[in-house]
Amino acid sequence: MAHIGPPGLGPSGQSSITVETRAEGSTPVIILSGELDLTNAERVQSAIEEMLTDGAERLVVETSGLQFMDSSGLAVLAFVARKVPVIELRDPSPIVRRLVELTGLAQILNVRP
């Protein structure tokens, strides 16, 4: 499932991804856009972990701008799902939605809509 290699690599050898955060009330919202794969999964995971406050009940991950995600990206979501009771995958792009469906992760991520 790993995906590393030439296509789409930035100058640092990492695929390009943007991680933005905001809050809806007390719920942190993470907006991912670009490509989430083996080359940057670790960086994204640290970024999300950093902003998760202790005792957060819910986390929203918005992925409408995510054009590609591989199994390492799924691992990030699965890992984060361990840290908060409820994780919501909001507005997944068709590619992400299909990946989540086929890998059975829809069971642990609340996909909306």
């Binding site: 790993a2 995906h3 490509e35 799924l74 890998t103």
Partner: protein, 536 residues
Amino acid sequence: MVVTPPRGAGSAGSRRRKPIRAATVVVGVVGLVITGVLVVVTLRGHQRTERTLLNLQTTLIADAGEAEDQLYVEYHLGGAASLAAATDGDAAMFRQAMSTAVGGGNAFVTGSLWRMSGSSPQLITEVGAQPLVPVSAAVIRDAEASRPFFVTELRTPHALHLAFAAAADGKDGTFIAYAEEPLPASRRITEPPGSPVAPLNLAVYLGRSQSMSALLETDSSAPLPLRGTTDTTRIAFGNTVLTITTSPRGSLTGDTGEVLPWAIAVGGVLVTLAGGLLSERLIRRREIAERLTGEVSTLYMQQRSVAETLQQALLPQRLPDIAGIEIAVRYVAGVSGVDIGGDWYDVVRLDEHRFAFIVGDVSGRGVRAAAVMASLQFAGRAYALEGHSPAMILERLSRSVDIERDGHFATVLCGLADVGARRLVLASAGHLPPLILSGNDAHFVSIKPGPPVGITGKATFGQAEVTMAADDVLIAYTDGLVERRGEMLDVGMKRLQESARRDSSSLDDMLSSIVTELSEGTPADDIALIGLKWHT
């Protein structure tokens, strides 16, 4: 693995004296040739300038000398002769005219006036000192025929005089004015500093010859005739010529002109040496860099090959022989560098009629991913041998891996086949659905997948049951086969469907052409593929 340290600078080998590289020799030769050419060009230019200057100065000296000497003789002596002709040889007038030219520091030391009547000269009057030798009739006769004046040398063992004689025709005959100018016995003259002649050695000869006997004067301490760079010019002087020869005392263009070629030579050699050293250094560095690159590349290949060997070792070396079933597998390593991937497949024979198979893919890469893969493979094999159903096998595997603890999770497809009953039970932990090829129809088995193993220890899995007809083929695979960046998974799965539907002579050929068609050379990710074909 034993790693030999790279032999870089500082190892014993590099202290040995190394031969100079060809490129350095070329740099040196080119540098020296350029220097040589520059030196020659500069030297020639310098010499040409020196010669031009010498010619120019000699001409100037000659012109000035001609004007001065000719005028002096013509003015005083010619003037006195003309005066005598006009006054019919008036002695008093002659003496008065000559008083400004004879004696008292003037050029002439003696003067006399002669009348030619017939062929014998008659002395009219004399001024100044006695002539060096008595004035000969021949000189006076020669003077009569020489215009504007006659000049000759007079020598005694102790002195040298130049004798001048100018003639003028009067009513009753021709009058000749005669004068002598003494020259230093040594012929040496000293030019005052700042004179245009000062930078030059100068030798003046009477007549065309440059013999010592013809030398009138010189300011040169060097032996005569002058040697080296010389210039000679001749100017008319009375009935004869003066030959003026010059050579430069030093450099006429100053010291810079003289030193420049040698400065260029020294500078050029130094620059060439520096260039050679630099080139040698750069070449050596490059050689070291190339060697290191080669060594790094070798190490990389070794590591990669170790990773591949390890991966191959983890996969089953032999597939079980099960009557009525043909099994084929493929494993293709992706272009992902040295990191080992986590794809695997396994087939476990349970009894005569039944066997289990597993295809899985651990997320990420590296040794840890491979370790997770190995543990899942061995655990899956054990659970299958214990007789668990596919759903139970996945449930148990889910408890054996934890993404938080192990850093990886895995998608797994597990199947249990009853060959005789043609029954196949399948369960999926987040794995892509297998493809069944039945006659001309190719479709993906609909299995409700549970989460990948390692995500949650409380996962439960559904099962799908399918019945296989004779010659039906099931293909289970990892996502490397169908996944492409920026593309829906369904597109890749559709490609697989179409590729599988094409006619193939055997199961093995089918897998080969599927891999070739879908991976397009070297795939980005690893691909594991298993094909099962029912023969009964």
